[in-house]
Amino acid sequence: MAVTNNVARGKIKSIGAAQSPLLGAAMFSPAVLYIVLLVGGPFLLAIFYAFSDARIGNTEMHYVGLENFRSILQSPSFHVALRNSLIFTICSQIVVIVGANILAISLENTFRGRGLIRFLILLPWVAPIALGAIGWKWILDSIYSVITWVLVAAHIYKPFSAPMWLGEPSLAIASVLLVHSWRLMPFSTVILLAGRTAIPKDIPEAAAVDGAGFWRTQLQIVIPMMRPIISVAVLFGLIFTFTDMTVVYILTAGGPFDSTQTLPSLAFAFGIQGSDLAAGAAVSLFLVPVLVIIAYFMLRVAHRAEVN
């Protein structure tokens, strides 16, 4: 297909091929300028701050070398935040990708009520996450939690002896993980669903005719064919979770005792709440290496798709 198309295009050497670089530049430069000024500029500024003693309310600042990084690396809350960021990101993506594959399989064929089911399943992703997280805060409330009520009703806990979901470090970490997985599963599901519908129907059908069962067809034929699309879902999922601060901020505000702090929420705590812009900027710069790695893999997926 693609080859014949290219040949056809080559033959009819159209006027469209004659490019207009001047008009082109005039049309894209406002957007590029905006991004350079308000993304590129602040990004450099963040690096600049990380090596300074910038504080809110003080316009003077001085170069302090690696001082901020030294004090951050010695702070126990930074180690916790780094560990949490990695745990939340990686674990939630494992949950998400397994769940999303199962969900995508069950949503692939049309059935009555599919539209409604799809809408309900999508809610966690399409509703503002700040609001969804408040819903969870109420579900996980220290006294009136519905989960506690069910556990008490099932006689697993005596009244008033159930744990506080957001009050104990390990449970609070599990709760944040749960909400991140809940949030991103719909997103991955629809991406995988798009990948599934793009696979020609006759391939899995032919496998079935050849005697391959459902699981074999899925695991050995369909899922390998979907590798690029699964990568896309995972890479975006990693970015969204790794850079998110909303879930933690609303559920636990980093607590109890900084046990659920992540890099972004710690950057906020240092930089904005603590007025120490320099320390906050230095913490947030630790996001960059992971972002660069993810961007690299995204480019690879995009490049491969282009070659094919």
């Binding site: 049309m27 406002p30 991004i35 969804g132 997280a133 109420w138 890099l263």
Partner: protein, 282 residues
Amino acid sequence: MSKGMPRSVWTKIVHVLVLGTFTILLAFPFYWMLITSFKQNVDLYTMENNPFIFNAKPTLDHVKFLFTETRFVRWLGNTAFVGVVVVAITLLLAVPAAYSLARLSGRWGERLGIGIFLTYLIPPTLLFIPLSRVVAYLGLQDSLWALILVYPTFTIPFSTWLLMGFFKSIPKELEDAAMVDGLTRFGAFVKLVIPISVSGILTVVIFTFTLVTQEFVYALTFISSESNQMIGTGIPIFLVRGDVYYWGALMAACLIASLPIAFMYNLFLDRFIAGFTVGAVK
């Protein structure tokens, strides 16, 4: 298979079970918002009550409280205002840029397009600290204009990327024919390409608007006064007094603000997904 039930029946049962479980898990918080919104406080705060049902008569008190005693309506208005202005700015900058990168700038444009897309990966949580200084320097603290200035930093990259995909899918021959008929390149863009790209542009409008409603970090950092909040920050911060959570009103607010956004997003979902997966789905 036990009792010789036909395989298809089992498949169906498993299908319903799997789908049912996932749907309940994913939608439960919204059901919870719904039932909490209409429960009386005596019902909500009596631990012995079965929380899944109404133990006392449903009430509209929380919804009334939300609309009369809080700034909820104001926050909805703020969000709509910022949303509309950001949509306008995004379209103004992203539509020409996308067309230019898709059509006029050759390989170079392709690379620049990918570069713009990559800036979408630079998160607010990396930029909010320096941007707080920029906002302060411009005297925009606690002003909605701070958000209007900053939000296009994440709406433009993704919108440009989405639109590049749309413009590329329009056959070049169409514009060539128009140009042979005497239109200039820019004329062909305005009179021909934009009208046939209405659905793509509408997608960007909805996408931008929903991104604005979902943003949290910048609104939290730049806006401090109660009357200038967006819904995403006003609800979690200002519906709590000290340590007292008004759960009924909170849940009503979450539900009322979420549902319209969810509906809009849902309508255009397949197109957004196409933006995320350009190239990876063939």
